[in-house]
Subunit: 190 residues, 2 copies
């Protein structure tokens, strides 16, 4: 068992594999990281990976589903107590700023994943799901905010959100998220 693997000591093989995939796939890319690197970091036998997930593709899928659920949970936890639609919208950007400030932030996992998969991949479906969820949330909040054109506002906020993540990925700082938030403040009424 590697040094890295010791961190996951008490977890099941499945959880350890997901934790390792979560780090390696996100940091270095789906195709750059091989099965061997993952099982080494997870401290798990190769047979366990194939018993649990069946294939690398399935592990990739599980990794992305986990990312989607984690982000959803973080955003909801962040904004649920906020008093207004406007505050909740800005809270979404605050949540990203927090993540972008942490070391190891590399942008949106779904954008990264979709950059290295062909058209018909199962990755695409998860990406669409998570984007649809976020757009729905923004649309709902835009409506509640009293915007004159909630649909357009939601899409503009989505562009800002995506742009902040990419700029964070490429430039390695959280400044872009503050810029995006500043623009959002101007766009959202109230």
């Amino acid at each position: 068992m590697s040094e890295q693997a010791a961190v996951y000591e008490h977890l099941s093989a499945r959880a350890r594999l997901l934790a390792a995939a979560n780090e390696l796939f996100y940091e270095e890319g789906l195709n750059t990281v091989g099965i061997d690197r993952i099982i080494e970091r997870a401290g798990v036998a190769k047979a366990s990976l194939y018993n649990t997930f069946g294939s690398k593709d399935a592990l990739v899928h599980a990794y992305l589903v986990g990312r989607h659920e984690a982000r959803r949970a973080r955003i909801i936890a962040r904004i649920e107590a906020l008093p207004s639609a406007r505050a909740r919208i800005l809270g979404i950007f605050d949540e990203m700023e927090q993540r972008a400030s942490e070391p190891g932030f590399k942008g949106c996992a779904f954008v990264r994943a979709s950059a290295e998969t062909r058209e018909g991949s199962c990755v695409k479906a998860v990406c669409e799901e998570t984007r649809a969820w976020l757009l729905d949330l923004l649309r709902s909040l835009a409506k509640d905010s009293g915007a004159s054109d909630p649909e357009a506002l939601a899409r503009q906020l989505m562009v800002l959100y995506d742009g902040a993540a990419v700029a964070g990925q490429m430039d390695g700082d959280a400044n872009a998220t503050r810029m995006a938030r500043a623009v959002a403040e101007q766009l959202v009424p109230g």
Copy 2:
């Protein structure tokens, strides 16, 4: 020579390799596409690739440098005749909208490339170069536009630009570029 390769008929081996790399790397990713696929589409012998570029990494680098120069040329050609800083800023978004409307648009090549390379790669340098160029351009235009805080405006426009490209990549339409342009219209004075 494959069917695809016939397109590049009159070009040198170097140009054909770059053209093939430009399609395949962009569409499917740096690590997904192997040398064999590239030389097949280029209709070129493997030895020619290694005589010309020396390694796959060097081909990747040349591909990205070509992308950078092509984009710079397109943007400059698009905005040079425009009458004001404001028009030139919006022209940058118009240029992207045009590209995003073409079939096969998959977002920013540099974002895609950086999503599948480790930290210390030579890809990083080209990405920084092209981003620095665009940010400089936006900063200069923001200053000329008479904005009260040109630096902040430039960075906000950069977020919008990045976001538009990503949304185009993920959603497969040019609508996001129009949304980004609409926000830019609000931000730039005049």
